[in-house]
């Protein structure tokens, strides 16, 4: 099973590399959206600093939702997914391998770009560390919870639209906690409780989401 897990992870990363122009799009979208804010609302430093955590996190959310549909779609459409079901390997671990690949390709770049975004949005430097941490903890949660939504909508044509409706309400708590953490850090207030909640969310979604995603995929296949 371990060989199968890593074989699948390697395959998905290789496929992502082959389709890299397609995958750059969410990242470019993120950069464009964020750069529009100083242009649209004026570059007043205090205002930007105030809204920076929310703007960066919302942009990360949108970028993730855009990239989510590709998580299972290709495998669903070319019959690879049903081969996974037949293979005898637990679909849960297969889902986990694919979600991990998705995060490495779609979530990790957001974390790595966040210092640049923080500078653009004039985020105070003492809260930069917390910003990066919330993204590092939160983006995997977005991938994990999002995968359940993708599993449910994959068999629908234009499922992507319904996908966004499904996952945005689930993303709201993560958004609130993450931005609260960063804003608390900016104001010099304690923020570890918020980070603790994110860690708890990550552990919970890591253990439960793959099961739910696998069940959703089985439904979608039939």
């Amino acid at each position: 099973m371990r060989t199968a897990f890593f074989a699948l992870l390697r395959r998905d990363l290789l496929l992502a590399f082959r389709r890299r122009t397609e995958l750059l799009f969410p990242v470019i979208f993120l950069l464009v959206v964020i750069s529009l804010f100083p242009l649209g609302i004026g570059p007043g430093p205090q205002l930007l600093a105030r809204i920076a955590p929310g703007v960066i996190w919302i942009a990360a959310l949108l970028a993730t939702v855009i990239s989510l549909d590709g998580l299972f779609r290709s495998d669903f459409e070319d019959g690879t997914l049903e081969q996974f079901v037949l293979s005898g390997h637990p679909l849960t671990l297969i889902a986990l391998a694919k979600i991990l690949a998705h995060w490495l390709v779609a979530g990790l770049p957001l974390v790595l770009l966040s210092p640049l975004l923080a500078i653009w949005m004039n985020l105070p430097l003492d809260s930069l560390g917390v910003m990066i941490l919330t993204l590092a903890l939160g983006t995997p949660i977005l991938s994990l919870i999002g995968s359940i939504g993708v599993g449910l909508t994959i068999s629908l044509k234009r499922g992507g639209q319904r996908l966004s409706l499904l996952v945005f309400p689930l993303y709201v708590p993560i958004l609130i906690i993450a931005t609260a953490a960063v804003m608390a850090a900016s104001d010099g207030l304690p923020y570890t409780a918020f980070l603790g909640l994110l860690v708890a969310g990550l552990i919970t979604s890591l253990t439960l989401a793959p099961f739910a995603a696998a069940a959703a995929l089985k439904i979608s296949l039939s």
Partner: protein, 196 residues
């Protein structure tokens, strides 16, 4: 190896085919024939476990199955050899090399090409290679001869014979004229659910 009793599958509350019952032993070939739209693909997918029957039961079914259907299950953005290497590593049941299998299915010349650049027949051969890499007892084949040239058809028959002689079993759905030649063949004419 595979025994089913009155398997029925409904779509939008209408049966796709008349209830199916049969028993398939090791070395046996079940040839499912029928008109277009009578439900051959649906039946194969029910047997494979991708779809769940509305009624009826599996009296026995081996866990060791391989399925090649209309959706070939190969990645367009990977080359032939990459696809096969992945299948081999993922299924983990074969001790055959991917190079050897590529040679057997006749794709050596295009092994480094991306699957999206191959012809339909070549893609079919790539999908059929999965059967050689899966080392399973039961093969479920849905129109395995489609898109193949004469050489390809002979390849499928060769693979099938070897598999059956080694004690494997196969359910093969086809509407075409070509039928594989095997002594332990049972013919099953599938009747569409819409027929009286």
């Amino acid at each position: 190896m595979l025994s089913v009793s009155k398997i029925n599958f409904e779509r939008y509350f209408a049966p796709v085919f008349h209830p199916v019952s049969f028993t398939l032993e090791a070395g046996g070939l079940l040839l499912v024939t029928g008109t277009n739209g009578c439900g051959k693909t649906t039946l194969i997918r029910v047997l494979a476990g991708i779809l769940h029957p509305t009624s009826g039961e599996f009296r026995s079914r081996t866990d060791s199955m391989a399925y090649v259907g209309h959706y070939l299950g190969i990645k367009d953005d990977l080359s032939v050899i990459e696809n096969l290497r992945f299948m081999r590593d993922f299924l983990g049941t074969s001790n055959r090399g991917s190079g050897e299998v590529i040679k057997e299915v006749g794709l050596t010349r295009v092994s480094e090409q991306l699957a999206r650049t191959l012809s339909a027949g070549q893609r079919k051969r790539c999908a059929l290679a999965r059967l050689l890499l899966s080392n399973t007892q039961l093969w479920l084949l849905d129109e395995p001869y489609s898109n193949l040239d004469q050489e390809g058809v002979e390849l499928v028959d060769r693979m099938l014979h070897k598999h059956l002689e080694a004690g494997g079993a196969c359910v093969l759905a086809t509407h075409g004229a070509h039928r594989p030649d095997w002594q332990q063949t049972e013919n099953y004419q599938l009747i569409s659910g819409a027929a009286a």
